[in-house]
Structures are given as C-alpha cells and as structure tokens.
C-alpha cells in the first residue's frame, strides 16, 4: 500500500525527520561497534593497526550510509526490494562463475575500494524482498500452499548458490532469516512444524550420506561436525580452534584477565581472534561481566527493533524490521554458540564486532532500512 493510501495518518518530512530517528538504537549500535574497536585494538597487541583503525573508518562510513538511508522514505525501499533481490542473485551467480578465489571459496567481487560479498548483500535483500512479498500478498492467502511455495523458492535459490560456494554459515542465516520473515508474516504454524520434521529427516540423511556417492556435505563440513561433537578428537587441526576458544573463554572468570592481558589471545593461541573468534578475546580479557554486557547490548538492539516493528502499522516496515532484527540475532547467536562449543564452527562473524568490511557495511545498510521504517512509520495526525 502506498503512502497516499494512509491519508489519515502522517509521516515526518524534511529536516525534522532527524528527530524521529531511533536514536537509542544508534547509540546501542555504536556501543556494540566500540566493543569491537577495543577488542581489535587489544588483539593487535595494543595498536590501532592493522584492525581497529580500518574498522572505525568503516563504521564511520556505515553510520553515514545508515543515516542517509534512514532519510529516504521507506516506500522507496519497498519499491526497490525486488530489484535488490534480483541484483544480489545475479551477483551471486557472477561470483559463482567469475569470482576471485580467496580462503578456498569464491565469495567476493572486488570493487576496487572494497571487496563485496554478494552473500552478505543477499542477507538483507532477501529479507526486504520477502517483506515486500508479504506486503503485496493478500493476508488471507498467506498460508495457501502456492503462496507459501513462492517465497520458499525465493529463499532456496540464493541458499543453494551460497551452499555451493561453500558457505554453510551464510546458508543457515538465509534459511532461518527468511523463515522468520515468513513466520512473522503469519504463515501457518503447520508449515514450520512440517519443515522442522523434514529438517530432522535431512540431518539424518546428511549423516547417512557420509562416505556414500550422494554425500550431501563437503568433507571439511563433516569434519567440523565431528569436531563439534568431540573437539578433543582432533586437537591439532580443526578441533584446535574450538578447544583454544573454549580455554580462552573459560579462563576469563568473573572479571577477566584484564585489558590486553588475555594470554590466549595475546600469545596467538586463539585462531581467527580478530574475526570469528573475537568474542573469546572479550570473554577472556573482560570475563563473564564483559561477555554478558555485550549480550545485553545485543538484546537491546533486538528489543528496540521489536518495539519499532510492533508499533509500525506499515506491513512492509514491520516485516523488514523484524527480518533484519532476526538476521542480526542469528549472526550473534550462531557465532556465540559456536565459540562456546554449542554449535559447529560454521564461519559466522560476530555482528558489528568482528573485523570485516562487507558484513559491517551490509549490517549498517540494513539498520538504515530499519531506521527508515521507523522514521516513516504511519502516525495519527495530532
């Protein structure tokens, strides 16, 4: 539905929009990013290079980007949602066939000033596209099998491409992120029950297929699962990561070993300590209090998004806000479960904290859309 249809209600215009931005959310995101700067500074042995400084610059760029996006009316974003999805899909196909080879997987396109990972972009555009879809779809048809099949295909298409890269973490995020938008849009519980049952069957099939001609996952993925189930089985190779991560986290205690005093991170026993395992550095140096503080900041981000969504009468705005919040949640939930030994190591960064350009910028863009939905939500004329 268009802005004009909501003629009983009003939205802020002009420069006054700035006042309607969800400022607590901006503060929370800045706080989360600052935790990242501190840990990157510590991980570099007390230096802004090579990680903290570029990360701060990216956050600055991301913040400007977020505010610009927030100023653009939400119906513009709704209009381009389909185009965004299509573009992301094309880029995924491009990296599939022409992408640079890095880290053993084809994942990015070199734009010159940064490396763009289409799979990161897809996390946001998929959510936007699904929100558009359910905004467009008649509410009564939401649970109709045909109208359920269409978004499922829209989710599985990019998921399949991402899996082929292979990037299990992103694939999981796409599936769950998409499913949560569908759930929020009101798709019947029965579908989710059925999918959960099918998922259980699939997991069984994954284990059954191992070593067979129709093996479903790569060997390295099986090894990660093995390692997750029993990290000590492979203490020197893939199990090393998770074992060292757990040691770092556990040795933090209540208050941690002190800023830049974490032996596991400072002496490099921690692998990927500036990217996927950065949470362990925080937990090691600032202990349980540090870890729980970050978790609370994240909870705050999710909370403000949920409140914003629930107060938004605009269907697209509400769904896109919920979807982005869910994706954000999935990021840190999977990452933390991973470093705490609750999930296999799938390569999902800690959102806004882990070092990395694509993820940070894409998340800031996503929160820009959340802000746009917040700013432009329909209000009763006072």
């Amino acid at each position: 539905m268009s802005y004009l249809e909501q003629n009983l209600k009003t939205v802020p215009t002009g420069i006054s929009k700035v006042l309607y931005i969800n400022w607590p959310l901006v503060v929370l995101l800045t706080a989360v990013a600052s935790v990242g700067f501190i840990m990157l500074y510590s991980n570099a042995g007390g230096s802004f290079t090579p990680w903290a400084e570029p990360q701060m610059k990216r956050f600055g760029v991301g913040m400007v980007l977020m505010l610009i996006i927030a100023m653009v009316p939400i119906w513009f974003w709704r209009t381009v949602a389909g185009v965004g999805y299509a573009l992301s899909l094309v880029l995924l196909l491009v990296v599939e066939f022409f992408g640079d080879v890095g880290m053993g997987a084809q994942r990015w396109i070199d734009l010159g000033f940064m490396r763009l990972q289409p799979s990161e972009l897809m996390k946001v555009t998929l959510v936007m596209f699904l929100a558009w879809y359910y905004d467009w779809l008649d509410v009564k048809k939401v649970s109709h099998p045909l109208w359920v099949a269409i978004p499922v295909i829209m989710i599985l298409l990019p998921t399949a491409l991402v899996l082929k890269q292979p990037d299990l973490g992103t694939a999981l995020l796409l599936v769950f992120g998409g499913a949560i938008v569908m759930f929020a849009a009101g798709v019947s519980w029965w579908y989710f029950g059925a999918v959960a049952a099918a998922g259980a069957g699939l997991i069984a099939a994954v284990f059954q297929s191992r070593g067979q001609s129709w093996q479903l996952l790569n060997n390295y993925q099986y090894r990660r699962i093995d390692t997750f189930l029993d990290p000590s089985s492979d203490p020197l190779d893939s199990g090393y990561h998770i074992t060292q991560a757990k040691i770092a986290l556990g040795s933090g205690g209540w208050t941690g070993r002190g800023f830049m005093q974490g032996t596991q991170s400072q002496l490099n026993f921690l692998p990927e300590k500036h990217t996927d395992f950065i949470f362990t550095t925080l937990a090691e140096e600032f202990g349980f209090l540090g870890g729980i503080s970050l978790l609370l900041l994240y909870a705050g981000v999710i909370g403000f998004c949920l409140i914003s969504a629930m107060n938004n009468k605009d269907r697209f705005g509400a769904l896109v806000t919920l979807g982005i919040a869910a994706t954000f949640f999935l990021f840190f939930a999977v990452n933390m479960s991973m470093v705490m030994g609750l999930a296999p190591v799938v390569g999902v960064p800690l959102p806004m904290v882990s070092y990395g350009g694509s993820a940070m910028l894409v998340l800031m863009v996503a929160f820009g859309i959340v802000q746009s939905a917040h700013v432009h939500r329909p209000r009763r004329k006072s």
Binding site: T263, L267, K313, A326
Partner: protein, 639 residues
Amino acid sequence: MRRSPTDTAESARKISRRALFLGGSQLAFMGALGLRMRYMQVDQAEEFRLLADENRLKIHLLPPARGLIHDRSGTVIAENEQTFRIVIRKEDAGELDIVLAELQRLIGLSQEDQDRVRKELKDAGPSAPVTILDRLTWEAFSAVAANAPALPGVSPEVGLSRNYPLKDDFAHLTGYVGPVSDYDLSRMDRIDPLMRIPKFPIGKSGIENMLEDSLRGSAGTVRVEQNVHGRIIRELERKEGEPGSNVQMTIDHRLQNFVQARLAGESASAVIIDVETGDVLAAGSTPAFDPNLFVRGISVANYNALLENIYRPLPSKSVQGAYPPGSTFKMVTALAALEAGVVTPDETVRCPGYVEVGGRRFHCWKRAGHGNVNLTGSLRHSCDVYYYELAQRAGIENIAAMGRKLGLGDRYDLPLPGLSSGLMPDKQWKRDNRGAEWVVGDSLNASIGQGFVLTTPMQLAVMTARLATGRAVVPRLIKSIDGIEQPIFGNEPLDINENMLRSVRQGMYEVTNNSRGTAYASRISADGMRMSGKTGTSQTRNVVVNNKNVPWEERDHALFVAFAPHDAPKYALSVVIEHGGGGSSAAAPVARDLMLFAQHGTVPPLSSYPQSQQGTIRERLKNLTLREDTLQGGERTSA
C-alpha cells in the same frame, strides 16, 4: 492492490503477536547463552585457567657449558668455542628469494646452501630456526648483523661448539663429541633430559665418551612464557645449571706432539709413562685424524677415506692394538725362569742356531747360532734358543704368571673405550679357546713373544715401568677432575727378587749400550740419561724372508721397549711400528728420540746423540713438523 482497513489492522495485530513470540524465543536463547557463559566462565574457570597456563608456560632446558680438558701443564686440549651462525625463521621471513640473494651478495652464500635452506624451511615449523650457515667469520657475521633490516627472519646467533685446538695430536685420547643419536639414546640406562635437545653434543669416543657424565654438567632450567609458535615472550624464572667438570689429563702436550710427529708416516704407536706415578705422558697413535671434523659433521667422503685407509687412523693403537710382543717379551720369560729357580743369571746355554723339540726344529733368528750365552748375553743378542731352553725348564704357567705380574693381559682402568686386554695365554686358556692341549712348542713360541701372546703398546710400557722400578706401576691418564687429584696406584713392590731384576736390567742396558747390543746404534750417549731397552721383531707370518721384498702388510712389526735413565729410572716407553721391519732398525731410533725428548722436555740437543750420528739426526729432527710451543719447550709440571 486494495486492502480493507480491518484486514490491515488484523495483519498488524498478527505481526505483533508473532513478533512477541519471536522476541520471547530470542530472549530465551540469549538467556541460554548467558547461562552457558556463566557455567564456563565461573564454574569451570579454574580448569580453563589451568589449561591456558599449560599453553603458555613452558620449561626450557639451559645446556650447561661442557667441562674443559687440559693436559698436565694446564694447556687446553678441548674447549668450548664461540661460534657465529645465522638462522632463519619462517614466521618472520619475507620473500625468501630476495633474502637469499642478499645473503649471496653479502657473504657469498653458495647455491647449494640456498637450496638446502629452501628445502629445510619447507618442512620446518614457523618458529623453528633453520641454520643458514654455521661457523661464520666475525666479518661475515657482522655484515649480516649490520644488514638485518634487509634480511627479515634472519637472525645472527652465538653458540658454543667443541673445539680441539691441537687437532690430530689428541684425537685418540680426547675423542670427539657429536650430536646425540637415537642409537646413543638406546644404549643409555638413564637419559638426561638434555639429550632431548636436538643435536645436543655428547662424547662419541675417547675421554669425551668415557667421562661424558662428568664433562656434561647438569642442565639449568628457565620458565618462559611463549606464544603459539614457540617464540619466547618473556622469561619468568631462571635456574642456572652446573657446568661440566674440567678434566686434566696426565699427558704432556709437547711430548704428545713430538710423538705424533715422530711416528708420522707410519702406522705406529708409542706410549711413554712416568714410572714413579704411572702417569701416561704420551700415548701416540698414527695416522690420526682431526676430531674437529667430527664435531662439525664429517663428510661421507672424508669418513670413508678414514675407514678405508689401510693404516687404520680411527682406532687408538696404543690401547686397542694387540701385537705379538716378540723379543720384548724375553724379560718375562727370563724372570719367570729365574724366579722358578731353574736357571741362574750366570748359567750359560749353548745356542747352535736352532733347537729340536718334539720333532720340530725351532730356529734362532741367527741361523749360525750364538754359542754359549748367559742371561745378559741372551738379552744383548736377543738369542732365541736361550729362551726356548728356559721355557722348557720353567713351563708356560710360570711364564704366564710372570707376564701378568708385569701387567700383561690386563685391561687397566683407563677412561678410553675399546681397551684391549691383549692375551697372556696359559694351558687353561688354550683348552677353553682352542679346544686343544698346550704343547711344549706353544711354550717355546710364547717364550719369545710369538704364538698366542698379544700385547698392547700400553701394556708393554707398563711392563717396562714395572721392570725398571720393581713396583706394580699402574697407568694413570686422568690427573685431576675439577682440581681434585686422582689417586695414584701401584706403589707396592712386585715381589720379585731385586737381584734378578737387576740382572735383567743389566741385560737391557747392554742391548743399547754394549757395542754388540742389538740396539747399540740407538744408544743415548749423554750421561745420566742413558737408556736401557729391548728390541722386538714380531712375525706376522711363519717364514722369514728379506723384509724389503714383501708387501707392507706382510712385513714384521718393529717393537722397542725402554726405560731411562738407567740408574734412576724416570720414564718407560714402548714403540710399536706396524710392519716396520726390525725392532732395532725401525723402532729403537724412534724410541731414543722420544726418550730424549721426555728427559729434556724439549727437542733433544744433538749432544745427547753419539757424535757420529749427529749429522743425520739433525736432518731428521729438522724435518719433523712440530708445533711452535713444542719447539720452544717448557717446564713439565710433575705430579
């Protein structure tokens, strides 16, 4: 698309409901994460803290400085030399090709070394040092150090390495050290943790090997904090080790140098001992080798050359070589017969050039015979028939007992590996080892040091020292360890009638000082230094022909034993020249030079030699390759 307001309101409510459910689920999950975090960080914190400490805290061993080896005057024979080497570590190395090219420019690193470094680096851990070049000159070392910024990952290091400054002279005595091998470890009862250090040097032969436990010292420890690559971040606690004990040998390095030089060119050995203390002043064995080659890692070609050399440079002939003593054994037979009372010194035996025993004819070396000879005459002329007669009278058991009394067949307690005990045969030995009864012919052969009898040069020197003193002189090779004087044994008398010993010594005196003695040409003419001795020519085959026309390995061994000065014996020696020909022609002149050097403490003056020989002696001494301080001479510290 149009939508009714009720639809919109209903859908918004539905979204809100589901959003609440989602929020609740997310909160629950975050709660679970928080609990898990609490469990790990609070309940299990101790356990994980311990694991973290295990990761970073390591105890490293500090290798102690190996004990030094000195000669009796305190001159260093084995030392720890500072060596300069450059190593490269993978984790710090930049572009390897550029680094190696730079090293080639700076210090001329060879292409072979470059290839080796590339290969070793490929297999090495990130912080494991790979040696680029060892034993650099100071100039090359400082060139590398000065250009450090252009050489990422390359670090100059200073280490200690064993060095034997006197090179070949002490090869057979000190032996050498080498990196500990799996084979070495398999032979040890108790393995010092130091042995776990890769390439830790341990004694492989000689004193280095036999006194390894004293020389090694004990390891120090250092507790360090290190990173995942094993790079040490800081030192937490250091406990220094104990350096190894310093060992002082009884050897006189000048005399040793002279012995080696004098024996050079032959496959030979000589031992000189101080008869008062039993101190071994020199124990030469030629050809020798440079022990430093082994420390630095000997090349296969060099090692094979040593192994294949028919002069056998590797074993120490002075204690490992067992030779038939030949006529140098005749003193034993004489004393056995005298002690048994079956002959008197003045009693004569007629030598017709041979004797027939048991249907076999035993020849004297002089086919024409010596006529009637008494004890001194028999030694002077080295008459074989006289000893054939004595052997028949005294029997092998008396002879063997006297041999043992004089130190033959004994493996002394010397810290040298592979000591040979020689062989002092008797009836029981032959029964046990040859499965045959002793026959009288065996006694006749044994009486002149042939047949089964085998002796080492060390044993012959000890035998001579015991003859000269009448005491049970025991050789001593180690004078002190860490300044603690080692005990001297062998002051008790041999329990041999002094008059009989005197008769034998008189015979030995005449060998070198009577104009008809077999070694008269090798006499010492300086009064107060006169030498008494006995020649020996031991056969390595049955038929004697002219030595000049047979291949080297079939020629007779040349032996000579001697003590001096005759009236107040101070030194005893033995010289064995493998396949050297005759004892009087080959061994005795060497023995005289050695004995004079021992008495003078320096290259002997020509006045000590008979006037007529001084010309040739001068030439001979001039041609010896001696070290500077050997030529200069010096005071010998006495025990």
